[in-house]
């Protein structure tokens, strides 16, 4: 297994209030697979993804990615892990506003040992003609493409997508999913997508459902369908 998550717990402390965001979560994903985590808003999906991506830490349990156990890493080691292995796609894109599309992608290639060519990625995400634009001059879908380009540019083993289509319309969402699918096929990148949209689980190899921080269901998807054909 490429991703192996064992009995992960996570609590948040807000003032005197303690909130259990993840309870005894188990989850696995093979290399080169697409995984989908389903669940309603507030169920703990982002928390789980962030623990996997090394931007948040678990209270107990283990998270193993490839050969690395990231639970227990200090912040320096986590930075190196993110730098080498993880590509993030955020729901709100998180682009650097004062850098152009091209430069935003360079932000990632800059710190990567084996980066892809910026022009190639921009062509792949269909933004070649927008490369000198600033993020605020792009639509939401285009900004999400930049964010994908930035995540993929490092050529990471693992691509983590937090509601990548959450802020997008139907048509644009499907385009983005197709793009992720293409990346998975051509580069062999392991992709983990979280969403509250059940239909999206159609493109996944493995799916888990999460509710109030607990895994309630988990299955292997035998009938994968291409992104263009999913409907909701």
């Amino acid at each position: 297994m490429f991703i192996e998550i064992n009995q992960v717990n996570k609590t948040y402390h807000t003032g005197d209030v303690v909130f259990q965001a993840l309870t005894d979560v188990d989850f696995t994903l093979e290399r080169k697979e697409i995984g989908v985590i389903l669940g309603p808003s507030g169920s703990g999906k982002s928390t789980l993804l962030n623990v996997i991506g090394g931007v948040d830490s678990a209270d107990s349990g283990t998270v193993k990615i490839g050969s690395k156990v990231i639970t227990g890493m200090n912040s320096k080691e986590l930075t190196l892990y993110r730098r080498a292995s993880v590509g993030f796609i955020f729901q709100f894109y998180n682009l650097i506003p004062n850098l152009t599309v091209e430069e935003n992608v360079e932000v990632a290639t800059n710190i990567s040992a084996h980066p892809m060519k910026v022009d190639d990625i921009l062509r792949a995400v269909g933004l070649t003609d927008k490369k000198k634009r600033f993020p605020r001059e792009l639509s939401g879908g285009q900004q999400q493409r930049v964010s994908i380009a930035r995540a993929v540019a490092k050529n990471p083993e693992l691509l983590l997508c937090d509601e990548p289509t959450g802020a997008l319309d139907y048509k644009t969402s499907k385009d983005i999913l197709a793009l992720l699918e293409k990346i998975n096929k051509t580069l062999g990148t392991t992709i983990l997508i979280i969403t509250h949209n059940n239909a999206i689980s159609g493109i996944a190899d493995r799916v888990v459902r999460i509710r109030s921080g607990e895994i309630t269901e988990s299955w292997i998807n035998e009938e994968k369908i291409p992104a263009e054909r999913i409907e909701w």
């Binding site: 807000t14 931007v55 320096k76 930075t79 993110r82 998180n94 650097i96 800059n110």
Partner: protein
């Protein structure tokens, strides 16, 4: 690194803060550089000049000429030179004192032109030449001889060209000095001879004096430590150094502190980006390096430009200032340590502050940062205990905004306070000097003041008789700087009116001390001071009844009969006369004549160096103040950008929004200004005290109501303009962009 490309764009985006900060640093580094070099040059050149041109340690007159100068020099380890002088009249009330050339002691420093080569050439004191509108090459007649100005020079024993050693102030309009050749001297007048002496370290001054007295007689002797022509220059430089030293460094430090805060708050808006970079796998070091570049850029562009401009301005400023200080600039002192400080200091403050801000940011997790930094989980104490139920929404909103962001509120208030203080500096200076001049006029009401050269016992002329004798505090050497006058005056007097601290006229039947002397001797009403007479070295005790609130002059006034009794003088004794018209008194009876106009002119001349130096600092401080208000206002408006745009999205009208969000800031501006008034009065008081200590003045801090009103109007206008600019910038941003930028 690709990230560096964003630096320029981010700075352009927050122009007001970054460019404003750079301008602030430029201005403060400029005055710091300018005044450090200026005061270093006054000081070192003064010392160099005194040493290189062999300033005398004493000068003296003898009954018959000394003719064994060389052997005396050898025996007593000294340099000795005879010099002739006489007073020529330049025009009807202007005296030009001419000297024979000196080349062993008190060597003239040629500032412009060349030394005397011909009999018809003359060297002039430059301030006299300026006052009389003479330049090198000009010529005019002295007696029946024509003289051509060969150059301008400064004589080490006449740096401050006082006509008489008892004069307080020099006035180049009425007195100046010149040097002519020995030959010309003999043709014009034989002049009076005096001897200038410079002693080596191992010299025995008293042995020399005794030796001269054995065969001859010393008829007059003045040590340089008692020579006001030398002392005043040192004192003027000392007093100005205190102020020009502390003021620019204080301005520079405070400006840098303010800029660090601006930078800190501006960088705080980047937390989401810092978090994103961190999540993408950027190392702390890499993120730190990127954000530190903001600090480096702001501080170095500012400090290098500011220091450079300061350097360029040094020469013209120096030319302007040397005239006030009577110090010739022999070699330029570039004060490299001050230059280095000027270049490094802004970075020394800004870089660590930025480091701290980013370091603290990076202690948060990437997640927290992407959410905009750790929000306070608890509501603030103030916020929780604020009960606003009865208020209208508008007021509730305003108060909540102020309370929610206490640091921002404080920053705005203190920013405006600091800016207002800088702004008011010049006003305070001008008002205070004006007040002091008026105050001086109020105390002395004579037009002419005649001081006899001997004590009279019967009234010999019209006017009001008085006595004045010199004393030193017991135990102090009778140096010029310790001596003060005790006056015996008639009560009531027509010519002397002394006010108490409430402005009421004090009765002259009491013993009254002036405020500057009271401060200097630390005496209070009812104290008794012990003094030694400069005349006969006898000791006396004087009980002080009252302190007069006058700002110039170190003196004690008591009824003339009481003074006569104290000094054991016959009743009716006096040695001076005050009058409101010119009196005819034979000049051989007089030691000194001073008209009130002379006093006032001379007083102005005394104040000028201070007025000029603090005045020019005040001018730049004024500009700095304006820029600070601008930077602060745009920072606050930008920090409110989100609230403003959200209200806009809700459908609030522009006018409603600004009245909600920005009008509370107007209140803060008023508060900030109100705080600045007592603070500037306090700080100016401290500043003036450092001046008065050496200048025998007590400098009151006065602000006219008008200055305070004008200062306030200027601050309000600046605030209004900055607000207008900020508003325009915000209304130019499309709403959709703002919604997007919330997500970035």
């Amino acid at each position: 690194m690709v990230l560096n490309r964003k630096v320029k764009r981010t700075m352009a985006e927050h122009k007001s803060q970054y460019i404003g900060s750079i301008v602030l640093i430029i201005l403060s580094c400029m005055i710091f550089t300018l005044f450090s070099i200026l005061s270093a040059n006054l000081d070192t050149n003064n010392r160099d000049f005194q040493k290189k041109n062999v300033q005398e340690n004493a000068h003296f007159t003898v009954q018959k000429p000394l003719n064994n100068l060389e052997s005396l020099e050898k025996t007593y380890h000294m340099r000795l030179e005879k010099r002739l002088s006489f007073d020529a009249s330049f025009d009807h009330d202007t005296t030009l004192r001419l000297f024979s050339p000196s080349d062993r002691v008190n060597k003239p420093f040629i500032q412009k032109g060349h030394a005397i080569r011909k009999t018809d050439e003359i060297l002039l004191d430059p301030s006299f030449a300026k006052a009389q509108d003479l330049s090198v090459g000009d010529s005019w007649m002295i007696g029946d001889q024509k003289f051509k100005i060969a150059g301008f020079m400064v004589l080490p024993d006449y740096m401050y060209p006082l006509k008489s050693e008892s004069d307080l102030f020099s006035d180049s309009k009425q007195f100046g000095i010149g040097v002519i050749s020995e030959k010309a001297f003999r043709q014009l007048n034989n002049g009076a001879a005096s001897y200038s002496a410079h002693f080596d370290h191992n010299a025995d001054k008293r042995a020399f004096k005794r030796a001269v007295n054995r065969t001859n007689r010393v008829t007059g002797w003045l040590d340089s430590t008692n020579n006001p022509r030398i002392l005043f220059v040192n004192e003027k430089i000392k007093s100005i150094q205190g102020m020009t030293g502390s003021l620019p460094i204080a301005i520079l430090l405070l400006t840098c502190a303010l800029v660090s805060i601006v930078l800190w708050r501006t960088l705080k808006t980047e937390f989401v980006q810092i978090g994103t970079l961190y999540a993408l796998g950027y190392k702390r070091r890499e993120i730190m390096r990127h954000y530190l570049s903001y600090a480096w850029i702001v501080s170095f562009i500012g400090s290098v430009l500011g220091t450079a401009i300061g350097l360029i301005a040094v020469n013209p400023m120096l030319q302007f200032f040397v005239g006030y200080f009577n110090v010739p600039i022999i070699t330029m002192n570039w004060n490299p340590s001050a230059l280095l400080l000027s270049i490094l200091l802004p970075a020394l403050l800004l870089v660590p502050v930025t480091w701290l801000v980013i370091h603290r940011a990076l202690r948060m997790s990437p997640l927290e940062l992407m959410r905009g930094g750790k929000k306070k989980s608890k509501t603030g104490f103030l916020e929780r205990h604020l009960h606003l139920n009865g208020l209208r929404f508008k007021n509730k909103f305003r108060i909540r905004e102020l309370v929610r962001n206490v640091p921002r509120t404080l920053l705005m208030v203190f920013g405006v306070t600091f800016a207002s203080m800088l702004l008011l500096l010049g006003f305070g200076l001008q008002n205070s000097i004006q007040f002091m001049m008026d105050g001086n006029r109020d105390a002395n009401h004579y037009e002419y003041n005649y001081l006899y050269n001997s004590i009279k016992t019967t009234a010999e002329s019209d006017g009001e008789a008085y006595s004045a004798f010199s004393f030193a505090p017991e135990g102090k050497t009778k140096n010029a700087e310790n001596l003060f006058s005790v006056y015996g005056v008639h009560h009531p007097s027509d010519y002397l009116k002394l006010p108490d601290s409430n402005g009421h006229r004090l009765s002259l039947s009491q013993t009254i001390i002036t405020r500057p002397l009271a401060d200097k001797l630390a005496v209070h009403e009812g104290d008794t001071i012990k003094v030694t007479s400069a005349l006969d070295n006898k000791k006396y005790e004087i009980k002080i009844d009252k302190i007069a609130q006058v700002y110039t002059g170190t003196a004690v006034y008591m009824p003339i009969e009481k003074l006569n009794a104290l000094l054991d003088l016959p009743s009716g004794s006096h040695n001076g006369v005050w009058s409101d018209k010119k009196l005819t008194i034979a000049s051989d009876q007089l030691a000194n004549t001073i008209s009130r106009k002379d006093t006032q002119n001379s007083f102005k001349a005394m104040i000028q160096p201070m007025q000029a130096s603090i005045g020019s600092i005040a001018l730049i401080a004024f500009l700095i103040g304006l820029v600070i208000v601008y930077v602060m206002t745009s920072l606050i408006i930008e920090e409110n950008k989100e609230t403003i745009s959200m209200l806009k999205v809700f459908g609030y009208k522009q006018k409603e929004i600004y009245s909600l969000v920005l009008s509370s800031n107007t209140l803060l501006v008023i508060l900030g200004y109100a705080l600045s008034v007592p603070l500037i009065i306090l700080s100016l008081g401290g500043l003036f005290r450092s001046f008065s200590e050496s200048a025998n003045l007590s400098f009151p801090v006065r602000f006219s109501v008008w200055s305070i009103v004008i200062g306030f109007v200027i601050i309000l206008i600046t605030y209004g303009i900055s607000r207008y600019a900020g508003k325009r910038k915000i209304s130019h941003i499309a709403l959709s962009d703002i919604l997007k930028s919330r997500m970035e």
